[in-house]
């Protein structure tokens, strides 16, 4: 504790990507203020460049030995670096799609990009957070940016409503999370993950004194479950996904899930790994509920954003199943699923955005009618995404589900796997429904694709990757397994 006031600047390199990104945010924010209207596009390019440089920095930190700095509250390890690179890459892709949407719907403002950068910063802090406080700090940077992002379309009643709902419920969840953290701190006397892990490993978990640890755990799990959107803390998901501008939904449904999983790993695996038996039970219930509700309720949806929201809920259930297993390969399977889910979700929302044009928000399933006639290529891409989400081989979604189920079965939860498969089959119905309307129904609207070439190109690569990685999944599986 005596080095509290002296600060070793030589360890700052470990947080270099974050430091750079923060500086970049300041620059982008100020520059955008002084740009005149014709040059507003520059903000977008600056954002992409900043993200790219940050990504390269994070990439260079891969394979560094584990380093913990800032008095044990910030960690740099492979998981952090790989997650950061992945989040930044996904954000860049999302930004390519977003620009088209923003231009079409006259939402192109500099603040949008600043907020996205800020939320990325928040997520990076979450991923690297190694004390409860850092994690919470990152979570709040992320959440506040997201609330504002949703409300950026302030002329739309739906968007404002969504933002407010997300804000109120998010505040409650944050409160629960903080409450849980305070309990953990109260019993263990530290907010550092390392100390908490030591405490939990040595505590007599069955004794009355540590019951508070158990309660704290429940609150933490709930806070994380809210962020992930797991049942029964999922209520915000469909409303927010539907209400938010599609470009925000795209961002919201993809990258923050990585951060949430990272927080999960930090708190529950790294910190309270000794209590796995306690939180695995909770996870099992939440996972099954999520898979079931996500698969079943989605059947009744006509709005594609809402449908994808429920599909997200069921995917989250699968991710949580991976953590139920309690073995490293199970965690690896879950992380692999996260990667896969984000790849698919980016492409799915990307195609939804692709169909947008001035004054037309393509968010109904019926908007996809007859897409195969007007744009066979993107109909094919959507087909790939949907089949992958449904878990059809050889697409990547199959391996993700397969890997999870295999781990679940080898951990001995055969019933769980059977339930998951049953609901996965049910969920195939609504994915196929979209395919049906694309290929077998006549269009009643005029579908023209006005998206710029860069978006079409990135989207195509994105979707083709789903197939290619599906055929050669080994690299990603190995990568996911190597993170633990």
């Amino acid at each position: 504790m005596n080095n509290m006031y002296t600060f070793d600047t030589s360890t700052l390199w470990a947080a270099l990507p974050e430091i750079f990104l923060l500086s970049a945010i300041v620059v982008v924010l100020l520059l955008d203020l002084f740009l005149t209207k014709p040059f507003k596009q520059a903000t977008y390019y600056l954002t992409q460049i900043s993200l790219f440089i940050t990504g390269v920095m994070a990439f260079n930190l891969i394979d560094q030995p584990q380093t913990i700095i800032f008095s044990g509250s910030f960690i740099l390890d492979n998981m952090a670096s790989v997650f950061k690179v992945f989040m930044i890459g996904s954000t860049m892709v999302a930004m390519v799609y977003t620009r088209h949407y923003l231009i079409q719907h006259a939402l192109f403002r500099g603040e949008y990009f600043v907020l996205v950068l800020l939320s990325v910063l928040g997520m990076m802090v979450m991923v690297s957070g190694y004390s409860l406080l850092t994690l919470y700090l990152g979570l709040e940077i992320l959440s506040l940016s997201l609330y504002t992002l949703i409300a950026i379309a302030r002329e739309r009643a739906g968007a404002v409503e969504a933002a407010l709902k997300y804000f109120v419920l998010g505040a409650i969840a944050s409160g629960l999370l903080l409450y849980g953290m305070s309990m953990i701190y109260g019993i263990s006397g530290s907010i550092n993950i390392t100390d908490i892990a030591n405490f939990a490993a040595n505590a007599d978990l069955a004794s009355r004194e540590t019951l508070i640890l158990n309660f704290g755990l429940v609150f933490l799990v709930i806070g994380i479950a809210f962020k992930l959107g797991a049942v029964p803390f999922h209520m915000w998901v469909p409303d927010v996904y539907q209400g938010a501008p599609t470009s925000v939904t795209l961002f919201l449904s993809t990258v923050p899930k990585v951060a949430a999983v990272a927080m999960l790993v930090r708190i529950l695996v790294d910190g309270l790994g000794a209590m796995h038996a306690y939180w695995a039970d909770l996870f099992m219930v939440l996972a099954v509920l999520s898979i079931a509700l996500g698969s079943v309720v989605a059947l009744m949806q006509t709005n594609i954003k809402r449908l994808l929201a429920y599909s997200t809920i069921s995917h989250v259930g699968f991710i949580m199943l991976g953590f139920v297993t309690g073995v490293i390969s199970g965690y690896g399977a879950a992380v692999f699923y996260v990667f896969v889910y984000i790849l698919m979700s980016l492409a799915a929302f990307g195609i939804v955005i692709l169909l947008n044009k001035k004054g037309f928000e393509a968010d109904q399933i019926s908007d996809f009618k007859g897409l195969s006639k007007h744009s066979p290529w993107f109909a094919l891409m959507m087909l790939v995404v949907m089949l992958s989400m449904a878990g059809v081989p050889p697409f990547i979604g199959f391996y993700a589900k397969f890997f999870i189920l295999q781990q679940v079965i080898s951990a001995g939860f055969v019933t769980l796997a059977v339930v998951a498969v049953v609901f996965a089959v049910i969920s195939a119905y609504y994915y196929l429904q979209i395919i049906k309307s694309m290929y077998f129904e006549e269009s009643d609207k005029d579908i023209t694709i006005v998206a710029p070439m860069d978006m079409q190109l990135v989207l195509s690569i994105n979707a083709v990757l789903i197939l290619v990685v599906g055929i050669f999944p080994d690299f990603w599986i190995k990568l996911s397994l190597s993170l633990f």
Binding site: Y5, T6, F7, L29, L30, L33, E209
Partner: protein, 118 residues
């Protein structure tokens, strides 16, 4: 372990008692015979012409938020100032970064016109 909290419970009880007790006593013991005259405005008072929960201009709200923001900043700087001599250059740089970011925010709101009344 919960026993440790007993003083706090006692404290809360006492606090409640001191606050509510006298009012309760006054209500129970004092005579209460209200009539028209007694309930009317007295002397220099005048009848209310509007609801007391009046609408403020939204600008007050904005200014209030900005005020709180910088108020908190000061609240944050105070403890720093107290221990500044012990913190040395590290403390100075840290608070500088903090203030710099606040200045950036300030420039942003200024440029956006949040500080202009009209």
């Amino acid at each position: 372990m919960l026993e440790n909290y007993l003083p706090i419970v006692v404290f809360i009880m006492l606090g409640l008692g001191f606050g509510a007790g006298p009012m309760l006593i006054g209500y129970l013991l004092g005579p209460s015979k209200p009539d028209e005259e007694k309930n009317s405005q007295f002397e220099c008072g005048f009848p209310a012409f509007d609801d007391s929960r009046m609408y403020f201009n939204v600008r007050y709200y904005l200014v209030a938020i900005l005020f709180i923001l910088f108020d908190l900043e000061v609240a944050f700087v105070f403890p720093w100032a107290v221990v500044q001599s012990q913190l040395g250059w590290f403390g100075f740089i840290a608070i500088s970064i903090f203030l710099f970011l606040l200045v950036v925010g300030f420039i942003f709101e200024w440029k956006h016109g949040a500080l202009e009344w009209e």
